[in-house]
């Protein structure tokens, strides 16, 4: 806290500034002046004054947290001094693995070709929504139209990034699964049969 604010604890402007501080630390997008007024139930003038105080307190060179006015409104960012540390936090060259749920989903999509979330869920025996969403976000699978016309569920296929990560020049290089069936249809049938046994 800046000394002027701390000394006059009863100052309502200080309280307003604290509330703004709090709102900004919870937000996942910049907050507009209107939103801040609405949340604090205060007049624009007062909110602007309080923001001015905060901008000074959270100024570059004064604090690790910097308050910045951007196109959409107000938001915190990391100070430039901390850029290196932030880079280490966000660009950790940690080699990320693939979770069991993601691996199963990838295998199903890679071997059976474009398939929908319900089909993946059926084979895995659990809802596939979060696994699919995670893989889409990581660019390993992508949408590939809808199954059976307009009303059908979205189908997913693996991406070139998937091939790169798994060191495959094309999907035809996937390890063979002769032990599971002669072709994709046979494998699919087998997986469905086991899945229904599991849910029985």
């Amino acid at each position: 806290m800046e000394p002027p604010l701390r000394l006059v604890v009863a100052n309502p402007l200080d309280r307003l500034a604290r509330t703004l501080e709090a709102l900004l630390v919870v937000a996942t997008a910049p907050l507009s002046l209107e939103e801040l007024c609405e949340a604090t139930e205060e007049e624009k003038d007062r909110v602007e004054t309080a923001l001015g105080l905060l901008a000074e307190r959270y100024g570059e060179g004064r604090s690790g947290i910097v308050l910045e006015q951007v196109a959409g409104g107000w938001a915190y960012r990391a100070s430039r001094d901390a850029a290196e540390a932030c880079a280490r936090l966000f660009e950790r060259p940690v080699q990320r693995g693939v979770s069991q749920a993601a691996m199963e989903t990838l295998a199903i999509v890679a071997y059976l070709g474009p398939c929908t979330r319900p089909e993946i869920a059926r084979i895995r025996g659990v809802a596939a929504d979060s696994a699919v969403a995670g893989l889409v976000e990581r660019g390993l699978i992508a949408e590939a139209g809808r199954g059976d016309g307009a009303g059908g569920a979205v189908r997913y296929r693996v991406t070139p990034l998937f091939e790169r990560v798994f060191g495959l020049e094309s999907l035809s290089q996937l390890p063979r699964l002769d032990d599971l069936g002669d072709d994709v249809d046979a494998i699919r049938e087998r997986l469905h049969a086991v899945a229904s046994q599991r849910s029985a």
């Binding site: 709090a22 630390v25 919870v26 937000a27 996942t28 997008a29 910049p30 910045e68 951007v70 959409g72 938001a75 915190y76 960012r77 990391a78 932030c86 880079a87 966000f90 660009e91 060259p93 940690v94 080699q95 990320r96 693995g97 693939v98 069991q100 691996m103 199963e104 990838l106 295998a107 199903i108 890679a110 071997y111 084979i123 895995r124 990581r138 390993l140 990560v165 798994f166 060191g167 495959l168 290089q173 996937l174 390890p175 063979r176 699964l177 032990d179 599971l180 494998i187 087998r190 997986l191 086991v194 899945a195 046994q197 599991r198």
Partner: protein
């Protein structure tokens, strides 16, 4: 109070008790999804609203709910049923106590969590990335394609074979007894329930009793008893014959 009209509000089912029974009997509702304790609570609450104890309703309720519970217990623990049946009463009591204790603890843990959540009502934090945070670069390690093949192979492995130990305690479908009783009443105007139950297992008797209640509800039989503990006599009604040709008559009525 009419037990069958008891309104239930459970996770898996909302409506009168009557309809719940029908759905369970027709196997359209899985008993595993039904919270029997919720039914008991609902009944007890209704009972408490009344000035005097409705003994008849209590009796009917006890019979219905214990039949439901037995069906459900056997459905939930098919594998262990044989083991449990062979246990000495003391051992069975201990096993039951262990399970009850476990559930009890979890119920209390749930209550603790609920209280905690209420206490954290005014704690707000950001869920998700900060507005001006750098884009995370999430590099993925090179993966082995054999990993894909092996998880798919695992998915193609049938789940472990279910123990057949419980097959000796198989539950016959209710429909089997519905048919059996109707057939009996086609040849005779009346039969003795206890006699028909001779040689049947306890679970078969339970199902038979449910079938009996169902037939009575559909007004296809009469049930009489000369005195308490006297043999239960099952008689024909006019509808017994009518429904012989069309078995689903009670289905239509109750659906």
């Amino acid at each position: 109070m009419i037990v069958r009209e008891l309104e239930l509000d459970l996770d898996a089912f909302e409506g009168p008790f009557d309809l719940l029974l029908t759905l369970v009997l027709k196997e359209e509702l899985d008993l595993a999804d039904v919270d029997v304790a919720g039914i008991v609570l609902g009944f007890v609450e209704r009972l408490a609203e009344r000035e005097e104890l409705d003994l008849e309703a209590c009796g009917e309720f006890l019979i219905l709910v214990s039949a439901l519970m037995e069906l459900k217990a056997r459905g939930l623990f098919p594998d262990e049923e044989a083991e449990l049946a062979e246990l000495e009463p003391e051992e069975a009591a201990e096993e039951l106590a262990r399970r009850l204790a476990e559930y009890r603890q979890m119920k209390e843990a749930a209550a603790w969590l609920r209280e905690r959540l209420a206490g954290e009502r005014d704690r707000f934090f950001r869920v998700g990335p900060a507005p001006l945070a750098p884009e995370p670069e999430r590099r993925l390690a090179p993966q082995d394609p054999d990993g894909l093949a092996s998880v798919l192979r695992l998915l193609a492995v049938a789940p472990p074979e279910v123990s057949l130990a419980h097959m000796t305690l198989h539950f016959p479908p209710v429909a089997q007894f519905l048919e059996r009783f109707r057939a009996l009443l086609r040849s005779r105007s009346m039969f003795d329930f206890d006699q028909e139950m001779e040689g049947l297992s306890r679970q078969e008797q339970a199902v038979a009793f449910l079938a009996l209640l169902e037939l009575r509800r559909a007004n296809q039989i009469t049930i009489s008893q000369a005195a308490p503990f006297a043999p239960i006599r099952i008689g024909r009604t006019e509808e017994t014959g009518a429904s012989n040709e069309r078995t689903p008559a009670w289905n239509l009525r109750s659906a």
